[in-house]
C-alpha cells in the first residue's frame, strides 16, 4: 500500500495552496465580479424602473392627449353650436328688422296715400265750391239789372247800423 499512502506534507501544502488561491481569487476576482454584477443589476433595475416610469408617463400623456382631444371636440362642438345659435339669432333679428322696416314703409305709404287722397278730396271740394260761386256770380250778374241793383243797395243800406 505504499503507492496509496497520504502524504500529509503534500496534503497540507495542497491545502495551504488552495487556501491561498481561494483568498486570492476571492479578493481579486470574486468580490470585483460580484460588485460588477451588483452594479449591473442595479443599472438594469434602474433601466427597468425608468422604462416603467416612461411607460406610465406615456400612458399619462396618452390619457391627457385623449382628454384634451375630447375637451377640444366638446369645445369645438360648443363653439359650433354657439356660432349656429348666433347666426340663427342674427338671422332672426335681420328678418325681424326687415319686417319692421317693411311695415314702417307700408304704414308711411298708407299715410301718404291717405294724405294725398285727403288733399285731392279737399282740392276737389274747393274747386266745386269755387265753380259754384263763379256760376252763382255769373247768374246774378246776368239776372240783376239796375232797378234790382238799386233795390238791393237800399236794402243793404237799411240794414247797416252805425
Amino acid at each position: 500500500m505504499s503507492g496509496l499512502e497520504i502524504n500529509w506534507k503534500i496534503l497540507l501544502g495542497q491545502i495551504v495552496n488552495f487556501a491561498i488561491l481561494f483568498f486570492a481569487l476571492k479578493l481579486f476576482v470574486y468580490n470585483p465580479l460580484l460588485s460588477l454584477l451588483k452594479t449591473r443589476r442595479e443599472k438594469i433595475e434602474e433601466g427597468v424602473n425608468k422604462s416603467k416610469q416612461a411607460e406610465e408617463k406615456l400612458g399619462q400623456i396618452r390619457d391627457l392627449k385623449e382628454k384634451m382631444e375630447r375637451e377640444n371636440e366638446a369645445k369645438k362642438k360648443e363653439i359650433l353650436l354657439k356660432a349656429q345659435e348666433e347666426a340663427k339669432k342674427r338671422s332672426e333679428e335681420l328678418v325681424k328688422k326687415a319686417e319692421e322696416e317693411r311695415e314702417a314703409l307700408l304704414l308711411k305709404a298708407q299715410k301718404e296715400a291717405e294724405a294725398i287722397k285727403e288733399r285731392e278730396a279737399e282740392a276737389t271740394k274747393k274747386k266745386i265750391i269755387d265753380n259754384a260761386f263763379l256760376l252763382t256770380e255769373k247768374l246774378l250778374k246776368e239776372s240783376i239789372d239796375a232797378t234790382k241793383g238799386k233795390e238791393i243797395s237800399e236794402d243793404f243800406l237799411s240794414k247797416i247800423k252805425v
Binding site: 250778374k141 240783376i144 241793383g149 243797395s153 243800406l157 252805425v162
Partner: protein
Amino acid sequence: MNTEKEISCWSRALYLSLEENPDNYEKIFANLKASLGKKIIYLPAIIKKAEMIYNKEKKAKLYISHDFDKEDIIKKIKEKFKGIDKIEDEIDRDLLAGFRLKTKDILVKASLKDTLIKLKNKIYGYN
C-alpha cells in the same frame, strides 16, 4: 322845425278849430294871423293844406254795381255816416248788387259779392 312841417301843423290846427267852431271862422283866422306874425306869408299854403285835409277827412268813395239814380242812396249814406260831405261814385260791376263805401277810416262792404265772399270763407272754415 322845417317850413313844410310847420305849415302842416298850422293847417291841422286850423282844420280842427274850424271843425269845432265853424261859426267863429273870422275869429279863428284873426287869431291865426296874429299867431303867425312875420310868417304870415305861409297863410295861403296853410289854407290850401287845411282844404286838402278837409277833402281827405270828409270825402268818401262809393262803388256801386249799376248806373242807377243814386241821389237817394247818397243822401241816406250822408245821414247815416256823419262827417261825410262829399261822395264820389264809381261803377263796379263785379259787386253784382249793392255797394261799397270807402272813407279815410272805414270800408263798408254791402254788396252781394262781399256776401258771397263771406259765405265762401265760412264754408272753407277761414272764419
